[in-house]
Amino acid sequence: MPVEVAEIALTANELGLGESVIENSAPLARLIERARAGDLTAFDQIITSHQRRVISTAWRMLGNEDDARDAAQEVFLRVYKHLNKFDPAQEFSGWLYRIVINVCRDQARKRGWRGMMTSFEAEYDAGNLELASADDTEAAAMLSQERVIIARALASLSEKERAAIVLRDLEGLSTEEVARVLGSSQTTVRSQICSARAKIKLYRDRYLKRGLRGSNT
């Protein structure tokens, strides 16, 4: 069973399709059944096949590694706890994303918006936002600074706008999938995305203007 899962994952990556091909395939459905019966090995494989996606989304929502790891742990614990309630007819990734968004929202509320800003700056100061493979130090520093600015831009959005734009523009879900995950209509999601993109652009424009003013002085 583990071999079968690994082979499918390899094929999906080679095709550039990521983890989405594993959706509701026979191996995943069997893993879910076994995990429901209490098989922790099966559940471990479920974690392995979805952990990158969960960490990536949590990191984009929360902005730092520690919070993303705590959120991911909580996500998988909730998945295990509520696996019996999962309807096999629906997409597992959609259900998983919903849990990720809810956990990230709860965590962000605990910390507050100020806490989120502090964590982004702390990450930048600690050098955790630098690209691992950047050879050019100056370029790496600029990229890290860009990340901080983008993180601030995302943090300035409302919860729903941030969730909508992260799922749509960064995770690549369609408007319909985002609507299903967030439990909203497609019209509402489009409105939230439109508003979020306009705010991000405005934030970037102000950042660029400030940068130009700084370079001119």
């Binding site: 471990d44 960490i55 990191w59 614990l77 955790n128 995302l154 993109r197």
Partner: protein, 283 residues
């Protein structure tokens, strides 16, 4: 469609989120409007800027740690007994419920006992207070039958005590403390006309002031004499000159219809008897 409308649609247009008809409208406008075309380009750059926001490269150690922490949390949750298992690990439900009921009965009984005990203590204290009220300064002179006070003017009559308030209690009537009948001072008893005792007690209960009650009774019983003499009894309040009030007590002297009888009312200094003021005012 003007530029304002187009600008509102640009965020959706650049990512292909518009329906075909509106996308076509926007495209047509952009072909003709350089400003809107520039704005569309800015939106595309902004989206590319946003997409550069990628998470750091997490290594396998990080993911191994994540899986291990999830697994250990699950294992701990499975091992941890729940509340009811902690309470009754091997017993059945019935002994536990019986023990809980017994605890409730004991606690309830203790609460009731504490409440009754407090009520009994309050009753005792009330009784002691009433008994203390009867302990007034001794009488310095009692007018004799001849009408002359033994020690000159301003002879005192022992101030009668206030009747105690009836004690309300939640206890059954058999255990209610008996209302203490005030001891009628001998001086009052001598002054009261025959058959006026009941009326006097009624007036005391009504006015809560023995001096006023006595005055009323004496006035009522001496009215025919006063009418014959052509005088109406007018009780006066005169300050005493020869008597020395007890320490911290205020002395008020009142004349009655009987010139040989004066009522001296002793009250604590901090309180004034409103009834005495009322009788003064009425004069």
């Amino acid at each position: 469609m003007n530029c304002t409308h187009i600008e509102k649609l640009l965020p959706l247009y650049v990512e292909g989120d518009l329906d075909a008809e509106r996308a076509e409208t926007v495209l047509t406008h952009l072909d003709a409007c350089r400003e809107c075309q520039a704005r569309a380009t800015e939106y595309e750059e902004s989206q590319n800027w946003l997409r550069s926001y990628s998470p750091p490269q997490f290594d396998e150690t990080f993911f191994d740690g994540l899986r291990q922490s999830v697994q250990s949390e699950i294992a701990w949750a499975q091992r941890r007994p729940n509340f009811f298992q902690l309470i009754a690990p091997r017993w059945g439900w019935q002994p536990v419920m019986a023990a809980a009921m017994a605890v409730l009965v004991i606690v309830g009984g203790l609460a009731l006992y504490a409440r009754f005990h407090r009520a009994l203590v309050n009753q005792k204290q009330d009784g002691e207070m009433v008994a203390r009220q009867t302990d007034l300064p001794p009488v310095s002179g009692i007018p004799n039958d001849a009408g002359k006070p033994a020690g000159g003017e301003g002879e005192k009559v022992v101030s009668p005590t206030l009747p105690p308030k009836p004690i309300n209690s939640a206890l059954p009537s058999s255990s209610v403390a008996k209302v203490i009948e005030p001891a009628l001072p001998a001086a009052i008893a001598r002054v009261l006309p025959p058959g006026a005792l009941a009326e006097y007690r009624a007036e005391v209960a009504a006015y809560n002031n023995p001096a006023v009650a006595l005055e009323k009774v004496l006035a009522r019983f001496s009215k025919p004499e006063v009418a014959a003499e052509g005088e109406a009894p007018e009780p006066e309040v005169a300050p005493s000159t020869n008597t020395v009030p007890a320490p911290e007590m205020r002395q008020t002297e009142m004349k009655t219809a009987n010139p040989n009888v004066r009522i001296i009312w002793l009250t604590p200094k901090e309180t004034d008897s409103p009834s005495i003021k009322t009788s003064r005012d009425s004069n």
